[in-house]
Each structure stands twice: as C-alpha cells, then as structure tokens.
Symmetry: D2
Subunit: 338 residues, 4 copies
C-alpha cells in the first residue's frame, strides 16, 4: 500500500502515519520526492483498509498497488533515483562510464588499466576480485588481494571502484574496499545475498539474470530496497537466447522498459551483451542512444593475454575511441558523459 501525503503535510502528521503503520505490524518505508512524501507499506496488507489511513490529517490518498514491485516502481516514486557514489552521481544527466579488466590479475595490470581509463574519461574502475566461474578448476580471482589492489588504484586515480560480491560472507569485506557492490547475473535471484545487501552501506549494481524477465529483475531490486538499501542500479548485460553467433543477446528493449517501470538508474554492459570485442562499441552507442544511464565495459592492457574475457575486452586505444563516440551520442540525446 502507498500513503501519499499532502504537499504541505507537517512532520508530526508524517510521524503519525508511520506510527500507525507500525502499530498494525507492518513496515513503513518513507520515500521523499521533491514535492511530497510517500510512505510505502510492506507486509501483509490485505487485511488493512486504506481508508483507515486516508482519513488521517495530512494524508492525500492511500492506495493499494497492483504491480508486484513497489519501492522500485515509478508509480510510487516518479522522479529518477540518482545514486550518489561517494560524490559521483549515477542516474542524472551525466552518463557514468565504468571500465577496467574482467579480473584483477596483478598490480601492474590494474594500475595500467586504471590510469588508462581515467585518462580517457571514465569515472569508475571495474575489476573482478571474486570471479564466478562455470568450472571449479578455472581462475577464481585474487580475492582480498584483488580488493586491496582496487583500493590502491582508487587512491592513485580517484576512480570509484565497482566489483562483484558473490556471497553473504564476503559482503562486509567487499564493502570495506569497494564503492559499488556488483551482483552477478547468476546471483540475481540469490535471495540470501540480496537481503544481506539490503543492509549494506554501499550502493548495489544488480545485473539481470541470463533468463531473468524484466519484472523478476525489478523484484530482485525490490528485495534490496525493502531491506533498507535504496541505492540500487540495474545492469542489463544480455539475456540467453537461441542465437549462438553472439555470447548473449543484449536486450536493448529492456532499457526503455525498465526505466518506464522503475525510477532506478539503468547501466548497460556491452562487453557481456555481445561478447565480441570488435562489436562492443556499436552496442555501447546503441545503449546510450536508447537511454542508458551508464556503461560498464571491459578494458585490458593486453586483451589477448587476459586471464578471462579477453575476447570481449577493448584495448586502450579502442576504449579511447569509444569514449569519443559516446560523448557525441550522449550529446545527441541531450546528455553528457561523466
């Protein structure tokens, strides 16, 4: 249920609403828009009559909602969410570019990548310290050592760090070093992890699962927000289809659809989305043209030597050229590149 307050409702009126929600054994989630406040009510609301709230002082209306997602829904919060990543804003007019290698491999590699992507204009450094691998025998990442290298790269370049967290046990550790906690596609519906991230103090980037519908993806985001962390970015990274010429099928439709259904920022990963190095720029341009709020792209000093994903990583000159192209496309849709 959503209880919308009148534009000039007082703080006391607001508190009275929140108290009444709690008194019924339900959980209130206050949402502050620019003009008015809304209280989303979570819990078994079926036995509660919206009229009991509608009649309270300062309340404009109380409504049940039909969409299965609530807190992440644009029906509830009309304005775009702008996630503040330690001073860098994602979801506003400026498009965020996140770049770096698939895996952190060594200090030399991550520093070279960080400096190159910084120079080309990226705002975030990406790099995997914990790597989900299909096979238990493949390189699983440098783990905490990788996190330390990422933090060191941040110190040297000022880039914000985005990196994957794969388990509840490592949430605190990853959150200690990273600026954005990435949930991988295979964990989109790992509910224990989502709930744990709802209690983390860092923004979350939630990748869409290989066979996750747009609605399931938003429901997964709802898990994080419902547990208390409103700073979620969605990330479209391609879905699994019958087509085998490309690694995945980037769902370009998902960008406008997710942004219409939800107020959360939508980031696009063209590297996994197509999986073919030479075509990554075309897909990245398309994403920005379709309204993406950011791009996360794999860049490696020497793609042909990468321990993972070399076939879809750009080298430095290719990334520099991509940044140039993205700035022009961003301009064409009335935005800038961060």
């Amino acid at each position: 249920m959503f209880i919308t307050l009148k534009p000039h409702a007082t703080d006391a009126e607001f508190e009275a609403v929140v108290d009444k929600v709690r008194s019924l054994g339900l959980t209130p989630h206050p949402i502050s828009g620019t003009e008015r406040r809304v209280v989303a009510v979570v819990g078994h609301t079926s036995a509660v009559d919206p009229e009991d709230f509608a009649m309270l002082p300062g309340v404009a209306e109380a409504l049940r909602v039909s969409q299965p997602f609530k807190l992440v829904s644009r029906e509830v919060k009309e304005e775009d969410t702008v996630v503040d990543v330690d001073g860098v804003k994602v979801g506003g007019r400026a498009i965020a570019v996140m770049a770096g290698p698939c895996s952190v491999e060594s200090e030399e590699q991550i520093m070279a990548a960080a400096e190159a992507v910084k120079k080309a204009g990226a705002a975030f450094l990406r790099g995997g310290a914990y790597k989900p691998r299909t096979s238990p025998y493949e390189f699983q990442g440098l783990r905490e050592e990788g996190l330390k290298l990422l933090a060191l790269a941040r110190e040297r370049t000022g880039l914000k760090v985005v990196t994957e967290v794969m388990s509840t046990e490592t949430v605190d550790l990853v959150a200690y070093y990273a600026d954005v906690l990435q949930v991988g596609a295979r964990n989109m519906q790992n509910y224990a992890l989502l709930e744990r991230l709802g209690k983390a103090r860092k923004p979350v980037m939630l990748k869409r699962g290989l066979s996750g519908t747009i609605k399931e993806w938003l429901m997964a985001a709802e898990y994080v927000v419902a547990k208390g962390n409103p700073d979620v970015m969605l990330c479209e990274r391609g879905i699994r289809t019958f087509e085998t010429a490309t690694r995945n099928t980037l769902d370009i439709n998902a960008i406008p659809v997710a942004k219409a259904l939800s107020h959360l920022p939508v980031i696009v990963d063209p590297s996994h989305g197509i999986g073919l190095r030479k075509h990554v720029p075309a897909v990245a341009r398309a994403a920005v043209a379709a309204g993406a709020d950011g791009i996360i792209v794999e860049v490696h000093p020497r793609p042909e030597k990468a321990l993972s994903d070399g076939h879809q990583s750009l080298d430095f000159p290719e990334f520099q050229e991509l940044m140039r192209q993205l700035r022009v496309i961003a301009l064409a849709v009335g935005r800038t590149v961060m």
Copy 2:
C-alpha cells in the same frame, strides 16, 4: 569456390574462367568490385581442384570458402552493397526511413499516412496489402485493391513503396505495383518463395524469422541472390525469447554482426522489435547508433483505430519527432537521414 581475378585481367581472361566453370557443370556468378572481378562458383565443387583455376591467365587466386553463405558474404565482396530502388539508394551514407501503416485500410487512410510521412522526411511508404495473420478469421488485407492504393500514393507523393508478398502466385502482381518486395518473418525459410523472388526484377527486403539465427537469415538471403537477384536488404525485426514484457526482443547485436558477415544493407523494424508505441523511438535511435542502414516504422493517422498493430504505431506528431531525433543520431555516427 571463389576465383579472384587480377586487377587488370582482360575480359577475355574473365570469359575463359566463366567458360571453364560452366564446362564442369557448375554455375558461375560474376561479382564486380571496384578494383577487381570475382567469380563465385556454385554447385558441387568438392570434386574440383582450385588449382585448375589458379593456373589460368588473369587469375589471382582460387579459394574454397568455409562460410556456408557465399554470394552474400563480405569475404567474397568487401564493399557494401547499395540497393538502388528506382533511384533511391539504400546501403550508402544516407539512412533510409520507411514509414506507414501496418495495413492499407482505405484510400483516405493511406493517403493521409503517405502525405504525413513524406512531409516528415521519409523516403519509402510501407503498408500491407496482403497480411499474414495468425488466425484465419482476422482481417487479411485489401489485397490487389491495397496494392493499387499504394501505387496511387506513390504517384501523389513520390515515395517508394515497400509491401509484403506472401506467396509465389502473387510475386508478379506485387512486383507490378511495389518497389520493394518484403518477405515476412514467418516466410524467412519459405524456400519456394525465396527462389521465386530470385527471379523477380524488384529489390527484396528479407525479414529475419522469429527464431532464425543470423546465419540462417544470411543463408535465406543467399537463396534469393543465388537465383539471380542481388538486390536484397536484410531486416532485423526482433526475435522470440522468454521475455513477455515486450512483443519481441530486438536483437541489436544482429546489426553489427550481420554487417560484418555480409555486404547487404541492414534495415531495422523497431515497431515489431519492441511492440510498444511509446518505446519505439528509443529502439529506433539505438538501431541507427548501432549502424543500421534504414528504419521501417509503423505510422498511422489514428493508431487507436487501426485494424492491426495500433498498439505499436506512432501517430504523425510522434513520427515527426522521431525523424528529428534520428537526424541527430545519424549525424553523430557520420551519416544522414534520407
């Protein structure tokens, strides 16, 4: 097999190659590039030794190819194919916009649409006279009457006409009235139709099937070209996936991949690709940013009254605004809108 001639090979040397191909019971397909000529050899070439050709005067090399498609392959013909539609060129620097209603419904409707899309800057009028419908009880199109109305609209506006042909029996009739013969997604592998279109004298636009891989789509184009019609445009219109929030999943990846594998122009249909009117512009912009050579979009005087596809048709003001956006994006990728 492909026999590449030397840059300055004489016509007599060229003819000698062609004759030898024929003498072996195979079919020669001469392809003229800007610098040199190539003869593609079609038939059971497995018993033929490329060396028998490589030693002929004027021949640079003779190679077997591994790609299953030959004539449509960029390995064979490096330069982009530019299809000349009665003076309007598709596949060059200018992006072709094709617009109009799903179905031709009446003279009034098609004339209103033609004039509006012409005014907004489209070069082609689209409109279905023969409609493939899932149910035998739905409106099947005005048939020849619809073709006549399309021809009339061309006469009044100068727009080129693109319309679907559904059966071998009607190829001549549709070719009599139309400028471009469209093959619908459900007929992508209707080989009898493809072969018949190979003998038609009008360009063909081949829509990708709902579950057609990129390679199968190119092989279907190969059927048309192998039978003698080199003027084929590919059209990406969305594939069928598990996602149900959109009608289809527009495969944005297919644009750069098809253009890398083939020299044929690639048109994109954002209307079917997403199936949601309000999101058609975002997808159209993405397509141009990814390198599409044209856009085919549904536009109707009154979408809410359309006999078919009203939910994905733009009205006139929306189309005008889309044209404005496409011009800006086109500029950003170094192209223009026709």
Copy 3:
C-alpha cells in the same frame, strides 16, 4: 460462434440452421459428434446475435467462443478426431508408427528401408522427395522421381506414404503420389500453403514451427480445417531453445496440452526432437508414455552414409528394438502399436 443442436434434432432442422448461417454471409462448418451435431460459424460474427439461432427449432444453444481456434478446438468437438489414411486410422487406440529415411535417395535405398520398417511393424513409410535445406547448395531431394519411388514402395509393401510438400505449386503433384501431406516446421505459418492444403483431398500432418507456440500451431491447423480439410494431424518435433547439446528441445509438455486443447491426433518426431541417434528411443518411449498418437522416426539402411540427417537416423536393428520397446510402453498406457 457455435450452434449446438439437440440430440434428436431432425435433418430439416439442421438444414434450416445451415441456411440461416449462409443467409447472413457467414460460412457454416457442420461437425458431427457421436451424440449431437454442432455448426461452427466462421466469418465476421461480431454483428450477429446468438439469440437469433438459439430460438430456432432443434437448437440446444448458440455460443460465441473465446479461444482463437474454433474448428480444431476440443471445446467445439469433444471426441478425438480419428484420421482415416486410406484405411489406416490415426488417433484411435492404436499408435501409428511412421518410419523411413530423411530423404529418398535411390530405389535401392527406399525399398530396403520400406521392407525393413514394414517387417518391424510400421504402418507408414516416411521419406523426403522435396527437401527444405538451409543452404541453396545442399541436396534438395529427388523431387517427382522421389515421389514415384515412394509410390512404388507403397505398392510393394502396403505401407502408407507420408512426405513433405513445400509449395502451393506442388500440392497436386505430391497429393497424387502420397497418402499424407506433411507441412515442415519452417512452413508452419506459410498461410498460402496452409490454405491450399485446406482444399486438398489428402490428410495433412502439420509440424510445429521451431518457435511456434502451441496456440499458433493450433491456429495454423485451423487454417487448413477452415478451408475444408478436417483431416489434420499435429506433429511435435522439438522447439528451438538455448540448449546446444541437442539439435532441438522436444516439448514433451506439448503432447498433453495440445490434446487437451484440440481433438486432433498428435504425432511426435523424436529424431528431430533430440537429433542424436542413440537417444531417439528414450524420447520415443517418453512420447508414447505422455499420450502421443503416433511416432515418426528416421530409419536408414546405413545412417553413416545418408545424404541428410544420418546422425539422427536409426539403422534397422535399432528400429526393430525400438518397436519392441514401444509396444511395451503402449501396453502400459492402455494402447497398442499399429
């Protein structure tokens, strides 16, 4: 609309209903059940009031239907359709086995196959004379020569012949030689072909398209029946999914679902359904256990030498063993193998 007559309605009452339907510009399709007759009304019935029929003598009720398919729907005709193929019945208690090579290659090959499958207990000989091939350069079948060989094999063995028809132009020719006209998966929505088959005098076997939903498949069958040919068998042959370990994904669910929605017999093609010779028997057994009315399976004298589909064809001993297994499974579900 469906007009159901009373159990003891007279022929005159029945004729009066049919005449009234015609007088309104609609087409009546009489359907005879064991207990009562129904008249399905096809055409633009939206302006017709069911009450106008309900009040006629001998009429039990007149109802609009919501399912998009009508004539093939079990709502309309409750009893299973039993298709009589020149004396051999498909859709009753006995399960029909159709077997033979992918393509007719030579007299020697087809005769050997026919005699072997006959001896093992099959009732139908399958074999392609016209072959839909992804590439225009692959073997396209022996065409009329292949049809003649199939007819010769029927003469010698008494097997009924099922073979594919790929184009409207060849319907009469194929119908002259064959007992069952097969529509291939790629032509499931080739509406010109479906309509033409509605006027043919031979039963039709309609394969499900690679991305055809169960409802679209039934709608395609509706095209054939609506044009006048009630003798349609459905054929599940696997759908296209992300799984690459098998050629297709046989949709076992489709058997009970199609049989619940429709009264038409459902045949299953395990050869295309899995595409792996050694696993064809497991899938065939599963199909019978799930309720299939028949099996169509590829059998070749020497699978390793077949011009097409050798990797999924059984040899004679394997087919004989499969027949033994199917008889046991059929018994377990209260049926027999024809």
Copy 4:
C-alpha cells in the same frame, strides 16, 4: 588429469601416486570402480606432464581430459552412482518417488501429506521450509519450524526428507534435520553455496537452472563433488523458453543426455516442469519412460488451499493413481518403483 591404475595395483602403488599428486601442489580425488582405481587430479595441471605419472609402478595410463567436467563425468567413472540416503538407494534399478507439498504450512498439513504419500508408496517426503520467492512480500516458509515438522513427519512415517537450502548460513541447520539438501534452480550457479555443500555430510539434489545448459548443470555438480561430497543427484525441472502455455518446458531430452555424460542419478520434477496439475501425470510417465531415476512431485491435502504452487499440486487420490501408472511404466522399462 586422470590416472588409471592397473587392475591389480597394490595399495602402496596407489599411495605413491596420491603422494606425488600432492607433492605437485595438486589435489587427488581417488575414485574406486569395481575393477580398478582412478585418481582424478584437480588443480592447475597444465604444467604437469602425464608421462611423469604413467611411468609409476601400478599405473595403467595418465590422461588429460577434454570434457570440462571431470569427477561427475561418465568418462571417468563408468558405473552409475547410487546415492545412499540413510539406507534408501537412489540411482539403482528402483525409481525413487519424492512427494509432498511445495511449502510446509502446518503440522496438520505436513502430517496428512506424509501419511498419504507414504501409503501410496513414496520413499521421500518433500516440503519447503525455506522458500525462494520472486517477491520479498510473499510467504517465505516456516524456516526452522518447518524443518522440525519435516523431521517429525520422518519420525512418524519413516520417509526420508528432502528440502531446500538457500544460503551458506543455513547449510548446517538444514543438514541437521534433512536427509537430502536441495539446491533450487535459481541457485544452480551460486558457487559459494555449492562449495559449502561440498563439505556437507548429506546428499545434495541439484536442480537445473531455468537457463542452465546441460553442461553448466554438470559443472555445477562438479563444484560440489570437487569439494568433497560425491553424493549428488541431478534434478531436471523444466527450462525457460518462449512457450507460455506451460510454466516451464520440461526438457525430456536432458534425461538421456545427462545420463550419458554423467554417472549421477537424474530425478525429474514434473510439477514445475509443466506447472499444470492435470498434466503432471503425463509428464511423470514420460520421465520414467525416458530413463529418470526418480520423480519429485508436489502433493497437497487440498491443492486449492495451498499457500504456494496449488495450481500444480496433485491431491491424494490423483497421486495414488499416478503411483499406479508409474509402476506400470517402470515395469515396461525394466525397473521398479521404490
């Protein structure tokens, strides 16, 4: 790498091999077949020369393997794995039937279900105590209270208990009460969970992910086995496709394919596989006919009142009838129902 010992190799020879593996920083996994022992070597074996092992006394051969899965591969262990669940064997001639409600709802409900499925002949009780739900606002299960009720039902009926574990934190708790630890489809590639289960002392049932390929599913099983738990059962529960008439598409092909690639038992879940109560028996019969080693099916005292999955749950008489059918089909494929 796999080091196969000679049939009569001594224990000392065997230990020498194991020691050498360890001395190279690799992990040995001894596998005992009926005739000979094999040592699977896990770790970065690329720098190790198989010849160094092949020359040791008692060694028959040392081979690198190409399949990405090793320990679960039939290439490595030819004999079927029979998982011993506290005395009940899964993977042998007898087919295991696991039945019960989607969620444990109350003592009354789970006891009624346990007694009914026991009486009908099931060997395992299924029931969810921790429920993965798409929405954070849906019923999430009775948690430990549910586990206790399952254990109580086991005490009263002798049925073995299979229930889902959703997070690493609850592995010990679930393992304390349950006999089989089920990994849900959404967690198929939750590697932290898989690794943790590799150290559990109870058998694991690993459901295939909605978009998991057969190879990825086997690789996920490899994670569990590589960490030390060889008692893994695979569970096919339907994949996600374009078809919307059914909840999922049960991949019947996966049964023979997984059993050919791996020695692990394959269980089938027809309830999720089709999602339609009235068609569950047809799919269950098909699974047994195709070679499944077990069936897990949802049964509820009153499906129409179930808190979850009521639309796909059988009631008691339906389950009893299904058991009767399965016994007949099992007999037809030379097996029995446990």
